[in-house]
Subunit: 334 residues, 2 copies
């Protein structure tokens, strides 16, 4: 039976509360505009999490900036930053799902320009309390107006979320914004040139190493054993992938594709704590990554299974990975 | 010393948590786009409250619908409704403060049309999961798209907030929407014809008595004695009124105006619990009002003073008023 949106929203809050309890550093909530997703308003959901946590950082993953208003996005996350006393982040993207474009009257023909313009405005609002903006076809002008509330963190962290498009990665580097790469297919190692492109573009534009951070976001699930993890995760992942696959004309998702993805070189982080820790550590070393976000659940899973995966990820996977990176991380050390 | 926006946002959450603890029924948060206000995103603030409360209803007071997108407003409050398990309300208004219009690129020349169009769309979204909207100059069209998440309450409560403009009151009645009257000046008794207009218009349009509810929202402050309440509240109220007064070319706000407003026939609910209870009861009887919202603080007050006022309002004023209205309320019984 499908859960109600309300039930799922309350489960998400419980997941985040547990994520803090088991020592994880950051929790993210995505934005979707589809019947099979409960969250179209990440900042609202994260504010509920903020009220019940003390330490964990809170991010969107991602905010579809192209079809939103940068002033509202800034206000929502500055409010979250105040409520959480400086724990908010925004991850902005152009959107993998595109339902929000027609819903908010945006044209997909402007996919690129919409994002570039709105990101520029968002960064202007972040940089100064009083905003002047020339406007254009994507957003009316702003003539020296204040935008409130102001956040605790100055600047409010803005990450660029990208599926691996070179232009998008280079733009993040050029702007000196941290990059969150979604690696949900293919071979993670193949993303190394993109990370190099990002860092090279960033350095060339004069940004510090400190500002050129890279996060990876991948699908996965942790259980006591590899077999158990695969058995629990596969049906849910398959259901979700086939819903999307029908829309995008992908081949049906089968167990063989799943097993390949969860093997040593694939993009799924599914397995026992030691299998997943080993794979995350290898990914971070190979790509030169500073942060890893495990996206779980995908599809419709039992609430208890998700909570159990979060516990194992926080209590067994994360400490192992962190211990391995006590030394400063370099992309060339592997 | 002015508090930071962040500190004020966290105080608001504590106020709401206390409001539930002392037995109040509803807590509201306004939307402003000015340096002297911390909240531009009511649903985000209310979500933090939702996570720490169980029973109290949560409303905006008001959401400036004219300069927002009805789809986002619905999504934000449907999300809040899910997180709070059915305790969300939206109070929509055209805006008393008008900073949001130029900020979001709306023209004040469209003050009336913007609100009418956007309210129509909001009610369409509320009525059905799949939305078709003709569009127009104020909002692009929507061609049979779903809007998610769906709320727990069906329909999600939408109140119309009004300062007392007859057209706005009549529109609320015609649409069968509950009316929240802001009475912050003049003589509350003089609002009786507006309530009659609302109810007459509503009945004429075929709406039930049940759907034609009226709330009043007024400024006020409760302390142990009338003198103490006046002494604490006046300087903060004066400061706030003079900031706004300078912009709107009002006469300076003095103690004499304050004392007149807090006397028997004025619009301020400032005093001891028995003074305020008596005045609220009289207002509800005279106007035929089902809900009273006390707006406190106005301006910059000590956090402890506000919390103390909420305690007295919840523990002493509200029980007295509720006891007096055990019988069904009629506007003619006074």
């Amino acid at each position: 039976a499908r859960r109600s949106h309300a039930q799922r929203l309350r489960e998400v809050v419980e997941e985040a509360v547990l994520a803090e309890k088991v020592g994880l550093d950051v929790y993210g909530v995505g934005e979707h505009h589809r019947a099979d997703y409960a969250c179209s308003a990440p900042a609202v959901v994260l504010a509920a999490v903020a009220a019940r946590t003390e330490r964990i950082r809170l991010t969107s993953a991602v905010t579809v900036l192209s079809s939103d208003d940068p002033v509202r996005v800034f206000q929502d996350f500055a409010t979250l930053d105040g409520l959480s006393n400086g724990r908010a982040e925004v991850m902005v993207g152009r959107g993998s799902f595109i339902e929000s474009f027609p819903l908010f009257g945006q044209s997909l023909d402007d996919y690129e320009g919409l994002f570039a313009d709105k990101l520029e405005l968002l960064l202007k609002i972040r940089a100064s309390e009083t905003v002047t903006w020339r406007g254009g076809e994507h957003r009316p002008p702003i003539d020296g107006r204040g935008v409130y509330p102001r956040p605790v963190q100055d600047p409010l962290p803005v990450w660029v979320g990208s599926g691996g498009n070179p232009e998008s990665v280079a733009r993040a580097g050029k702007l000196g914004l941290p990059l969150a790469l979604a690696i949900i297919g293919g071979r993670p190692a193949d993303f190394a040139p993109l990370v190099q492109l990002y860092k090279a573009t960033g350095r060339q534009a004069g940004h510090s190493e400190e500002s050129l951070r890279v996060a990876v976001h991948s699908h996965g699930f942790v259980a006591e054993t590899d077999d158990q993890a695969a058995r629990v995760f596969f049906p849910s992942m398959q259901r979700a992938m086939n819903i999307i696959g029908r829309e995008r004309r992908w081949a049906p998702y089968d167990r063989r594709a799943f097993d390949a993805a969860r093997s040593r070189h694939g993009a799924l982080f599914v397995g026992s704590p030691s299998t997943v820790a080993d794979k995350v550590q290898r990914l971070m070393t190979t790509l030169g990554v500073d942060r890893f976000l495990l996206h779980c659940p995908v599809g419709t899973m039992e609430a208890q299974e998700v909570l159990s995966s979060i516990s194992l990820f926080g209590e067994k996977v994360a400490p192992t990975v962190k211990e391995a990176f006590q030394r400063p991380l370099s992309p060339r050390q592997s």
